[in-house]
């Protein structure tokens, strides 16, 4: 009898952690799915993905704080993220791969500087809080995270299903051909540039949505939440899970955040300071990225034949 209630109590203690891990994994899974569309399926080397994470989050919370109804704010956030994807794409998608990488990273850093400095707009480094969250008046506080989890997983499934449908459609076929060799779809009459823009826009909008979801979970957004490292979290998720595999991306997100949370547990046992634990985590991530790319670039679920990563 004692054993049962004891283990039930233990479960209650762990449950919030599990909910947290699943919540963050869903958010990052959505974020990474957007990148997977751009890189895995279209071959666009976008190192500035975090910018759209930020645009979605900031737009929604700021609009909401200024009195805009929540639903509209959310739509605006996602739409603006997609629109900025379009803006970024117009001048840069004609550049070659390496230049695109540099320019996109510059873009996300400049955006972060703007977020930091234009305090009249974004409250600068102090961040934004106090905005509404969906149904926050209806759901009791202690269950709110569970509600979010159910909501976010539902959204994740919807996005996953949509992307899968897209990638198996003729539209997806054109993207895949662009990924490998632009001249072929071009010679067959496809407007390659326009498809790249569409891919970037959609991927950015998805990232924006993820940003909105992150804002609701954290109840606070600040420029520090949107450093370039977040882009590379998404990168490692999609590479680990298998480039161009949406299923793999979701699994990758889960693995990454379980790892992060797991190391938080360990840090209580190991005599390392917090900054060292953080650094250790990132060293593992960096090594993992290197080793994956060197020896198993198809990740867990990727297909070797489908890889556009080595000649």
């Amino acid at each position: 009898m004692m054993g049962l209630t004891g283990s039930a109590g233990c479960f209650d203690a762990i449950l919030p952690y599990i909910v947290t891990i699943l919540l963050i994994s869903s958010i990052y899974a959505i974020f990474a799915l957007g990148l997977n569309l751009e890189w895995g399926f279209t071959g666009l080397l976008n190192f500035g993905h975090v910018a759209f994470f930020a645009i979605g989050a900031y737009t929604t919370v700021l609009l909401n704080l200024w009195g805009c109804p929540l639903v509209l704010s959310i739509i605006a956030g996602v739409a603006l993220a997609g629109f900025f994807g379009f803006l970024l794409g117009i001048p840069t998608l004609r550049l070659r791969v390496d230049y695109l990488a540099i320019v996109t990273i510059g873009f996300s850093e400049v955006l972060r500087f703007i977020l930091l400095n234009e305090e009249w707009l974004t409250r600068g480094p102090f961040g934004v809080y106090g905005f509404e969250r969906p149904f926050q008046d209806v759901i009791p506080y202690q269950h709110y995270n569970t509600f979010l989890l159910i909501l976010y997983v539902a959204i994740l499934v919807a996005i996953y299903a949509s992307l899968e449908r897209l990638m198996h459609s003729p539209w997806g076929r054109v993207l895949k051909s662009i990924r490998e060799d632009e001249s072929v779809p071009s010679a067959l009459g496809k407007n390659v540039f326009w498809y790249k823009i569409q891919s970037l826009m959609l991927g950015s909008a998805i990232a924006g949505l993820a940003g909105v979801l992150l804002a609701f979970y954290l109840q606070y957004v600040s420029p520090a939440t949107f450093k370039p490292i977040e882009t590379f979290h998404a990168w490692i998720i999609i590479i680990l899970g298998g480039t161009a595999s949406n299923r793999g991306t979701i699994v990758g997100a889960l693995i990454l955040w379980t790892f992060f949370s797991g190391t938080k547990f360990i840090s209580r046992l190991v005599p390392l300071e917090s900054h060292q634990m953080g650094a250790f985590r990132m060293i593992v991530i960096g090594l993992l990225l290197m080793l994956l790319m060197m020896y198993k670039p198809e990740g867990i679920f990727g297909k070797k034949e489908e890889l556009a990563l080595s000649d």
Binding site: L45, F47, P91, T92, L95, V97, D98, Y99, A101, I102, V103, I105, G106, F107, E109, V110, F113, L116, N117, I229, F232, W235, I239, E273, H275, Q276, G278, A279, F280, M282, I283, I285, G286, L287, L288, L289, M290, M293, M294, P297, A308, L309, S310, D311
Partner: protein, 284 residues
């Protein structure tokens, strides 16, 4: 005037460190995102030598360069060379370099923490110069940087190694057929490029606070300098670096200081869109 001095200082640092990035870019055909962190690594090794072991700055300088070059050689043997054998694509190498950047930077955080540090050297007063102040450190940076760049010029134009490097950077396949041992030349490119970058890193530590992210922050201006000067053109990179450094500092006259890096980004993007071969391509 003060801005011009600051611009010259940071410009020479950018120029010095970016040369390596440019040369590697051209020879190995990929963007090494870890380059900035090698620069930071050098600064930290100098810090270690100077503060922990109490050596003077000149010794620290030498040790930092040696250590950074050694690290670069190890990475070349363990990572880049096997990838070349496998014919890895440019994108693969870029992503690997991102991973490497993460590892390096976080090793620095792990060992030294995220706080700012500085060398243990006497603080000296600056001189008055046309109404602005220039410190001895700043003078040291500019002089050393230019001295090294001059050495590089000598190396590239007079010696056999230099000629081989230029041949390789012009056309890899042709160089290989002409009997040049590409692996050796690539190794030498790393050595020289990272050596210069390390020197730049130590000098950088003289004029700014040493933090783990210092290298990453230098990366965008370095890219801008490389592109401005034309990839693979060391002299163009030097010109580009000076221009970027000056424009960054001068921009603070009209823009808030935090937007300095936005300047390099904007300059770089404009150049890429209009004349991707670089503006200073003719500087040879």
């Amino acid at each position: 005037m003060q801005l011009i001095i600051n611009g010259l200082v940071i410009g020479s640092i950018i120029a010095l460190t970016a040369i390596g990035l440019s040369m590697i870019y051209k020879t190995l055909n990929f963007v090494n995102f870890a380059h900035g962190d090698f620069v930071a690594f050098a600064a930290y090794i100098a810090l270690l030598t100077n503060v922990a072991f109490g050596m003077n700055l000149a010794v620290a300088f030498a040790v930092a360069i040696l250590a950074t070059v050694a690290l670069g050689v190890v990475v070349e043997k363990l990572v880049w060379m096997p990838m070349r054998r496998k014919n890895a694509t440019q994108t693969t190498l870029i992503i690997i370099s991102i991973g490497l950047a993460l590892v390096l930077r976080n090793i620095l955080i792990f060992v030294w923490g995220g706080d700012t540090q500085s060398y243990n050297i006497p603080v000296r007063r600056g001189f008055d110069f046309f109404g602005a102040v220039i410190t001895p450190n700043q003078i040291l940076v500019i002089v050393t940087a230019f001295f090294l760049m001059f050495l590089l010029h000598y190396l590239l134009s007079r010696t056999k190694i230099g000629k081989a490097m230029r041949a390789l950077s012009d056309n890899v396949d042709l160089a290989r057929i002409s009997g040049i041992d590409t692996d050796r030349v690539i190794l030498r490119t790393w050595v020289i490029g990272l050596g210069l970058a390390a020197a730049g890193g130590v000098l950088y530590g003289l004029v700014t606070a040493i933090r783990p992210s210092m290298g990453w922050f230098l990366l965008l201006p370095m890219f801008a300098a490389v592109i401005l000067g034309g990839i693979g053109n060391p002299y163009g990179t030097i010109a580009g670096g000076m221009v970027i450094g000056l424009s960054q500092e001068l921009s603070t006259a009209v823009l808030p200081t935090e937007y300095k890096f936005a300047v390099s980004f904007i300059v770089m993007t404009i150049v890429l869109l209009i004349k991707p071969e670089g503006i200073f391509g003719w500087v040879r």
